[in-house]
Symmetry: C2
Subunit: 224 residues, 2 copies
Amino acid sequence: MVVCSIKPAMRTIVPFAVETPKTRLAPVLSPTERESFATAMLCDVLAALEAAGHTPTVVSTAPIADERVTSRAAIVIDDRDLTTAVNAQLAEDGHTLVVMADLPLATAGDIQRLVDSEADITIAPGLGGGTNALVVREPAFRVDYHGASYLDHREIARDVGASLETVDSFRLATDIDEPTDLVEVLVHGLETNRAPARLRAFGFELDDRDGRVDIVRDESVTTK
Amino acid sequence: MVVCSIKPAMRTIVPFAVETPKTRLAPVLSPTERESFATAMLCDVLAALEAAGHTPTVVSTAPIADERVTSRAAIVIDDRDLTTAVNAQLAEDGHTLVVMADLPLATAGDIQRLVDSEADITIAPGLGGGTNALVVREPAFRVDYHGASYLDHREIARDVGASLETVDSFRLATDIDEPTDLVEVLVHGLETNRAPARLRAFGFELDDRDGRVDIVRDESVTTK
């Protein structure tokens, strides 16, 4: 017998910085392109959350008018830094799923694996010691996204006596910050997703002529 | 009731290049250190395979005398390029697990997830479009590690009519090639593993003073 426990949808927040998004992509994308790409990634994350049965709220540093976002999520404005804004949400309700907006490889299945964990705190770590997605079921837990937040969150969980689990997911670990990260979007992005479609519209494609995989851009395509 | 199907151990190979290993770590590690670190990673991979119930064979470009390796694995010498050497192994037996030697975060559980897949071909992709671990159950399948091998392997599987699954694992996706990858070893390496212990012995520790996580080295520790 297989016991399937269908869990109720969890309160879900997606923090989003409207101003100067994805500055580390400046070497390869113009400000307008970065804004468009950041919104595309946000839409992909919202779609994955929706497919996993959750109704996300975007905690945004400024109002968002884009209908592709507003049709999928409630918007709450909080212009404070990421840690403060997320902790304000956790103070309202200690049972919350927090998913970063720059995870365009996230799928409903990955989100489900995260939510299926029974631990007080469940973390999907990001590349470079970060915390890309987080399920909080312990009201005393607070986040600290500065620095190696994965290690800090383990310590904070220990301090408040909360059990902790780590979800081993490449898709959730892959936050898109640097030009080299764009390779992952083109290789692993779902065909129906917006982020890989944006990159292709910008003229990017994979280039593995020298044996290592890189991105190359058709310079005739520019959107300044 | 939970039905556990204990699968028999699978023929398992780990390719290993003895000469000039991990050249892209040259900016931060001396040749002797790179050799020691590469062997430590290999030992960690062999330990994970052993813990998952497999008896690995190291397909090495040259003889290995190191007792920490020879106590854990049979050694087969093949000095040809990676693709040719692995394909020679697949020609001998089409049912094989192939795991790269530079995956020091691999655990028995990740390996088990890979082997549990029922597909003809199961791939754990690596960062940057690579193929870090691979279960082959289709005798006609051959590898091609050049370039975006994850995409190539999907295509090769399609060409031979083999079903394909992808295992979503951050631990298996993280191959250690570049200096920035060392962060992952220090953050996520198991406490009992050799690779993080080597890095700490070389004087490396995490540094997140400026908000992003990097590695910093105690320059009084040198092993030229």
